[in-house]
């Protein structure tokens, strides 16, 4: 078993493309996005921007869950941390880029704290703890309502974009700049020693420890990196919506993120991109179906159901996700 795993791992390693590829891909992506923003109508640009923001967090989450095997349901809460940090900063100082940097920093610290606890937990315990973190967000905003203004949330003061650029186009640039930067950093991180450590710890903690990999350190680092991405995504969402409220970061959001990375293939950055696109495209499709049907109850819930069905089906039929769509041999350990 172990030998087999090792063999496949070596094969994977040899197959991984040379180091210059991520940079080229990111540059190509940037060119495509900028070109797209000039041809798309404003609403599509807004959707494009939303995809970019989602891409940040799904990329970070897929590294954590896919490569390091830590399941987090708390990324919605981490995004809320980033969003609220940016909102509070913007309403005081109104300097966007330092604000985003601060949001990432604060979320990284919070993620580090959760990660310290997470490194000692496994499987369902970790899922339960992060679930509790996700559920506790409205409680925090209500308890400290002087700062966070309870359920109403805060509005985000933003300067209009420089020059004559339409605001949606500017948002798309901003979000995709963040997303591509995130992906570039992540792509190099997971190709290097850090990525090897992540996988080693995921596959066999004892073996990793024997090989000199600091298990707890690697797990905390994975959480920190992933939290930083979530913080950036949260800040970008605050910019997109120009407001933050606990209702924007419900538990469902964390479940959606999980769906996004699972359907795209756990641990793959391309999978994270597919997931981010689906997160924006599917609700939009569901919305138009609901409008055609003229049913208020369908709105939102159709997408919810669909995501759930997809999540279950992908887990049962193709745990590798869409990015690895072949039919893997599966062995059931026990026959019912």
């Amino acid at each position: 078993m172990t030998i087999l795993q090792d063999a496949t791992k070596t094969k994977d390693h040899q197959k991984s493309p040379p180091k210059s590829t991520p940079l080229l891909l990111v540059i190509a992506g940037a060119i495509i996005v900028v070109a797209l923003t000039y041809v798309l109508p404003p609403f599509r640009n807004y959707q494009l921007a939303t995809i970019g923001a989602y891409f940040c967090v799904t990329a970070g989450l897929t590294v954590l869950t896919g490569l390091n095997g830590q399941l987090s349901l708390g990324h919605g809460a981490l995004m809320a941390t980033g969003a609220y940090t940016l909102a509070l900063w913007q309403n005081k100082f109104d300097l966007l880029l330092p604000g985003i940097a601060l949001a990432v920093l604060v979320t990284t610290v919070v993620g580090g704290i959760i990660g310290l606890a997470a490194a000692r937990l496994r499987g369902p315990y970790l899922a339960g703890l992060t679930l509790a973190v996700a559920v506790v967000v409205p409680s925090i905003t209500s308890t400290f309502d002087k700062t966070f203004n309870s359920d109403q949330g805060l509005s985000v003061a933003l300067d209009p974009p420089p020059g004559v650029i339409p605001v949606e186009q500017w948002q798309a640039w901003l979000c995709w700049a963040g997303a591509l930067l995130t992906v570039l950093v992540l792509a190099y991180l997971v190709r290097g020693r850090f990525g090897r450590d992540l996988r080693a710890v995921r596959d066999d903690e004892t073996a990793a420890k024997l090989a000199g990999v600091g298990v707890a350190r690697t797990q905390v680092m994975a959480f920190v990196v992933s939290a930083a991405c979530a913080g950036l995504a949260g800040a970008l969402f605050a910019v997109l919506a120009q407001s933050v409220s606990p209702g924007a970061f419900p538990l469902t959001l964390s479940l959606f993120l999980l769906m996004a990375i699972v359907i795209g293939g756990l641990g793959r950055l391309t999978g994270a991109l597919i997931g981010a696109v689906l997160l924006v495209a599917l609700p939009s499709v569901a919305q138009s179906i609901a409008e055609d049907a003229g049913s208020q109850h369908l709105e939102g819930n159709l997408a919810l159901t669909f995501f759930g069905v997809v999540l279950v089906l992908v887990m049962l039929a193709a745990p590798g996700g869409l990015a690895a769509l072949k039919f893997p041999r599966r062995s059931r350990r026990q026959k019912g």
């Binding site: 399941l71 349901l73 000692r120 339960g128 506790v136 819930n301 159901t305 995501f307 745990p319």
Partner: protein, 292 residues
């Protein structure tokens, strides 16, 4: 002091419900090594069904029966149709599938019933009796204690005194040997899920009248509290689940009563962190008889 007494009884009453819900989690964990993250959503679904029947027929008890029976059926269906086919080589898979079920159930409920809160009336008065001028317990609290007590006693009898209970324990403890000895292991697993879901549904029916009412997301916070209760007691221990439930109930009542209702979820989070980091196997963990 009056307030303290009142909060204590309120906490015990809430804790009884958490205990029942935690018991449902422990039942599935012992049978299948899966923490059923869909438990809350499943309970809400059956509660919707129960209250629909109650509204249509005018009989709360018929609705109550429908909810618990619905739980039995839903649990069996979830195990037979979905959970049985999960690849258990990674503990993540079961959790992810359960979360997918949460999305499906919440989406379907929203499509059928809409996203608003619907009333969930209680069958008994929730006004507390006064004993010596102190408001202590309501009829409804007594009903909750009786219902949860009955569940605990019945489950104990089932697992310790009947052949079926013995088979269920055997199937969970040593599936291969049990199969050789003629125990229908798969059937026992289905039965375990069905029982657990029924207990979860019962807990849902008991707790919803004391909360805001029926809502597709109504059990999210409750699930976290019950999960905490199960972890406090140790996921493997039914006795621990009951004690953990009461501990969490009391904690929530005191924190909610003295510090404000919005602080209570944070207290649950803190308790969960402390227990997980301090005693991850729970306060009532015994020596490991079986490794997952």
């Amino acid at each position: 002091m009056d307030r303290f007494l009142y909060l204590t009884f309120d906490g015990l009453s809430r804790g009884a419900v958490y205990a029942a819900f935690a018991l449902a989690l422990v039942l599935i964990w012992r049978a299948a090594r899966i923490v059923n993250f869909a438990q809350g959503a499943m309970a809400v679904a059956t509660a919707y069904a129960g209250y629909s029947v109650a509204d249509a027929t005018g009989s709360y008890w018929l609705g109550f029966l429908v909810a618990v029976t619905g739980g039995l059926v839903l649990g069996a269906v979830v195990e037979r149709v979905v959970m049985r086919f999960v690849d258990h080589s990674s503990p993540l898979n079961g959790v992810v599938v359960a979360l997918g079920l949460v999305l499906i159930i919440q989406g379907v409920l929203g499509m059928i019933y809409g996203d608003g809160y619907r009333p969930a009336p209680a069958p008994f008065s929730r006004d507390a009796f006064e004993i010596g001028g102190i408001a202590i317990l309501s009829r409804y609290d007594l009903f909750v204690f009786a219902a949860v007590g009955a569940v605990v006693v019945l489950l104990t009898l089932l697992f310790t005194r009947t052949a079926t209970g013995l088979r269920m324990r055997a199937a969970a403890f040593a599936p291969d040997v049990s199969r050789l000895l003629g125990v229908p292991v798969g059937g026992m697993l289905t039965l375990g899920w069905a029982l657990a879901a029924a207990v979860g549904s019962l807990a849902g029916m008991l707790v919803l009248p004391t909360e805001l009412g029926l809502h597709p997301n109504a059990m999210d916070l409750l699930f976290v509290s019950a999960f905490t209760a199960a972890v406090v007691g140790g996921l493997d221990s039914p006795v621990g689940a009951v004690v953990g439930g009461l501990v969490v109930g009391l904690l929530l009542a005191y924190v909610g009563g003295y510090l404000g209702a919005t602080v209570a979820p944070m207290a649950v989070l803190v308790l969960l962190v402390v227990v997980l980091l301090g005693r991850p196997d729970g306060l009532f963990a015994r020596a490991k008889a079986r490794t997952a």
